[in-house]
């Protein structure tokens, strides 16, 4: 029994590592989704270094200054580059609950700073929070090699979707979420 469990863990780690190995060496953005009643809560975590490349040039580089003096600019940026649509294509009401900076570590880049954006989706009555469209081109609209991993809260290491720049379509395609 012990051997089986260790093999299971090793296999899972191998899967995690393989996905990581073929991916970008720099940290990417992650959106973790969770259902809140009829609505949704989305936690978007973005590496600050790459976000700074995509933000308007006039904004400062320091995360402290960004948060203290330019939070409204950050809110406007994420409102412009993130949205949830129902199955008819109608954008749902969203509110950014909080934006905070924090340190993070990654095997391939060491310590870096990231921004955590908490977004609440307060949908229309007809909204189905298992079947909807997620649009997010934050950072990716400018940093073409960046991507956004989409995960459910109860499976934090499993990508259910990737939002990436499509070099054939020359755009970031939306992700159709079909939840369990």
């Amino acid at each position: 029994m012990t051997v089986n469990r260790r093999e299971l863990i090793a296999a899972l780690l191998l899967l995690v590592s393989t996905g990581h190995a073929v991916a970008h060496p720099l940290p990417n953005t992650v959106i973790v989704m969770s259902r809140q009643g009829r609505g949704l809560r989305m936690q978007l975590t973005a590496p600050l270094h790459e976000l700074q490349l995509a933000l308007p040039q006039h904004l400062p580089k320091s995360v402290g200054t960004l948060l203290s003096d330019h939070e409204s600019d950050l809110r406007a940026y994420f409102d412009a580059h993130f949205s949830v649509l129902d199955q008819t294509g109608k954008r749902q009401l969203q509110s950014i609950i909080s934006i905070a900076g924090r340190d993070a570590t990654h095997d391939d880049v060491g310590t870096y700073q990231e921004l955590v954006v908490d977004i609440m989706i307060s949908p229309d009555a007809s909204f189905d929070n298992r079947h909807f469209t997620l649009r997010c081109d934050a950072i990716v609209h400018h940093v073409a090699t960046h991507h956004v991993s989409v995960r459910w809260h109860d499976k934090p290491h499993e990508d259910v979707g990737i939002l990436a720049y499509d070099f054939v379509a020359r755009s970031v395609k939306p992700f159709l979420v079909h939840g369990p």
Partner: protein, 371 residues
């Protein structure tokens, strides 16, 4: 039943790759091969191999050395080195050191005896050519960089010249298809031969950290400065309107047709058409191209350069960041009907400063044209 293992999974993911290697050792015999042994290929005397195969030339030399090497191996090592031809194996390359990518095929250099390493080095020299700071010489310096990282960092990524893999994908022979596969951290070399002729020298990945000159194994090493200088000359030779055309709207923090991204070529060519440039500026584009094409033997490189010269007017050059290609997030691309070269200057991973990741591909002949 699933809760405990998953909790451990989360914990180990945080702890990092050291844990990964320990656990996956239960599952993967491949990772056991990494011994972090230093080889110092520069100190290996290749005269014995030259004496054995002195009467051969071109592809026949490769066959002679490959055959001599195979005859010297144990049954176990031979089985690891000589594999059936499979493009799926050819695609198993990466910029990562062993900790980040464990799917490479073939034995590592650390598994060969000193006598066998003579033959391995001779084979690489014959296939990659002996142009200064290119081809084999560039490979040796990239391996030296791994030894430098091992000696000067506490990283457990598996940096060591002994951790580079070599394999024969397909039987080296005058008839049929085979690939000489060699690679490891920051290096992927894959020459594909069909019926005795080189039919593909790509994908060919090169990167190095440290990027600036460093001393290792009794020599100065700077294997990618030549590439960076050629890109900078190419872009700095442009006037302001040409430079504006070549400038990409987006930023690139990595290459886009990298490992396991074989189909990621953009649908349209961006940047400045080389056909709009005068002969002197076109020559600078060719000089940049040569820093990659000269990573194979001279006669084979000449054939490929002839093709790229013929396609030059319909080739595009593009960049983002600064035209010096010497700052973090600087990126440059050469995109033609066949050729694809891109280079991305990335932040230092193990040391301060920047380091390049770059790839030479050919839209028609990657993996010898095999899909």
């Amino acid at each position: 039943m699933m809760k405990k293992p998953l909790a451990v999974l989360v914990l180990l993911s945080v702890v990092g790759a050291g844990g990964y290697i320990w656990w996956s050792g239960q599952m993967s015999t491949a990772l056991a091969a990494y011994t972090n042994k230093e080889i110092n290929l520069g100190g290996v005397d290749v005269k014995p191999a030259a004496q054995i195969c002195h009467s051969t030339a071109g592809h026949d030399t490769l066959l002679c050395i490959a055959d001599t090497l195979k005859k010297s191996l144990s049954r176990e090592m031979l089985a690891k080195l000589q594999r059936p031809y499979a493009v799926a194996d050819a695609k198993k390359w990466s910029n990562f050191p062993p900790r980040g990518y464990g799917d490479r095929v073939g034995p590592t250099l650390g598994e060969f005896t000193p006598e066998q390493l003579v033959l391995v080095k001779s084979l690489l020299k014959a296939a990659a050519g002996i142009a200064a700071n290119e081809g084999y010489d560039e490979m040796e310096q990239i391996l030296n960089a791994d030894e430098y990282l091992a000696a000067n960092t506490s990283d457990s990524a598996g940096f060591a010249s002994g951790n580079y893999h070599i394999a024969f994908l397909g039987e080296p022979a005058a008839k049929g298809t085979w690939e000489l596969y060699f690679g490891g951290h920051h290096l992927a070399f894959g020459n594909t031969y069909a019926d005795g002729k080189l039919v593909g020298a790509t994908p060919s990945f090169r990167g190095v950290e440290p990027f600036t000159p460093f001393q290792q194994n009794g020599r100065e090493n700077a294997p990618m400065l030549q590439e960076q200088a050629a890109f900078a000359s190419m872009l700095n030779g442009l006037d302001s309107s040409e430079l504006a055309k070549a400038k990409l709207d987006q930023a690139f923090t990595n290459i886009i047709v990298g490992p396991q991204q074989d189909e990621n070529f953009p649908s349209l060519r961006d940047g400045l058409r080389v056909g709009e440039l005068g002969p002197e500026k076109q020559a600078l584009v060719l000089a940049a191209i040569e820093t990659y094409v000269r990573d194979i033997s001279a006669s084979e490189a000449d054939v490929i350069m002839t093709k790229y010269k013929a396609e030059l007017v319909d080739t595009y050059i593009a960049f983002s960041g600064t035209p010096g290609i010497n700052a973090e997030n600087d990126y440059v691309r050469i995109d033609g009907p066949s050729i694809w070269i891109e280079c991305s200057m990335q932040p230092g991973r193990s040391l301060p400063g920047i380091h390049p990741h770059s790839v030479w591909r050919d839209r028609a002949s990657d993996y010898g044209g095999n899909k």
